[in-house]
Symmetry: C2
């Protein structure tokens, strides 16, 4: 983070276009606040105070608290996780799932994402952020693994979206029922079902 | 429901063993209250008042609000839904999914179940009721469709639990992101993936 005073940052963030320094300061403050207080103790007001930014600036860039949380979560995930490329979809999914569940278990991000899904059940803005922004982005990320599998002839290209949907549902079910043990054989069985590769094939 | 006075019911419900009449009265009152006020307006106190039952009785039979809600939801689902038996797993899943999503869309049960999953993200008792009671019961119900498929040789018996898990995750993802449109072709594609039967096979 650059060494700018809160006043500098506040000044520089005026306007609809995002100022990268101010944006980074806000995301950093939001991440720290979430790590300290969790989802329940999170407020735009406190993020603004810590980042030396105005609340109107934050709301201009992130229409709702859910939108800001999604960006924090996505940035955390991108910094912790990379898409594997093992040469087969089932082993890509095995590696990715074990890393993802570990990320959910061992960092505050698991609780944050659970709280976000929970809020989407009662708040329209959070539902819309989850469904119309977060999920399409995740679908696009995950598609790369499935597209490579289609290029290798492992799955038909026409089935990519449906298989990614199955994979996201599998992960959500385990997150939301708090069953994130690193059970590699069980995860491998489901990874093989989702990738259409029965045991024995490598 | 039998014609008993609230006082009769209160008397007859003493003891750890459930009195069927009192249990039915409590479930009926809970269902009506949920239909009227939704999950947010639900309270054991109001259920007790309407059912003419004592709060201690309700808490003796259902340790938490989540346990009572799960029983109400399960009873509603059992009265609206039957497991299809079409002769193939993919068409069983297609029929069941369309019925389930309609049940979620068109009755208060969809919102109730969403609220229950949401509460499980912040309350340990609700998480435990969902994970340790509700999910194993649903798994057992759904297994029948998959067991018949295994008997017909459509899927290996060793894959039943994993495929049921994929199916539950698929439904949860659609419920929690409020994407429950009756899109039969899209549902059929996923039903075929879960049942391992590519298009063309019937």
């Amino acid at each position: 983070m650059p060494e700018t005073s809160p006043a500098d940052r506040r000044r520089s963030s005026i306007g609809a276009r995002r100022n990268p320094d101010a944006e980074a300061a806000i995301l950093t403050a939001a991440r720290a606040l979430l790590a300290e207080r969790g989802y329940a103790g999170f407020s735009i007001e406190e993020v603004a105070r810590r980042a030396g930014a105005g609340k109107p600036t934050i709301y201009r860039w992130w229409a709702t608290k859910a939108d800001l949380l999604i960006d924090v979560y996505a940035a955390e995930k991108a910094s912790h996780m990379a898409l594997p490329d093992t040469g087969a979809l089932w082993s890509d999914l095995l590696a990715y799932t074990r890393a993802l569940w570990g990320f959910w278990r061992d960092t505050p991000s698991g609780s944050i994402f659970r709280a976000l899904i929970a809020e989407a059940q009662t708040t329209d803005a959070a539902l819309s952020a989850l469904r119309d922004k977060f999920l399409p982005d995740r679908l696009r990320d995950l598609c790369h693994m499935f597209e490579r599998a289609a290029e290798r002839g492992e799955i038909p290209a026409s089935e990519i979206d449906d298989r990614v949907g199955l994979y996201i549902g599998f992960n959500w079910l385990h997150l939301l029922s708090d069953r994130l043990a690193d059970d590699a054989p069980a995860i491998e069985r489901t990874a093989r079902l989702i990738s259409g590769q029965p045991p024995g094939r490598t």
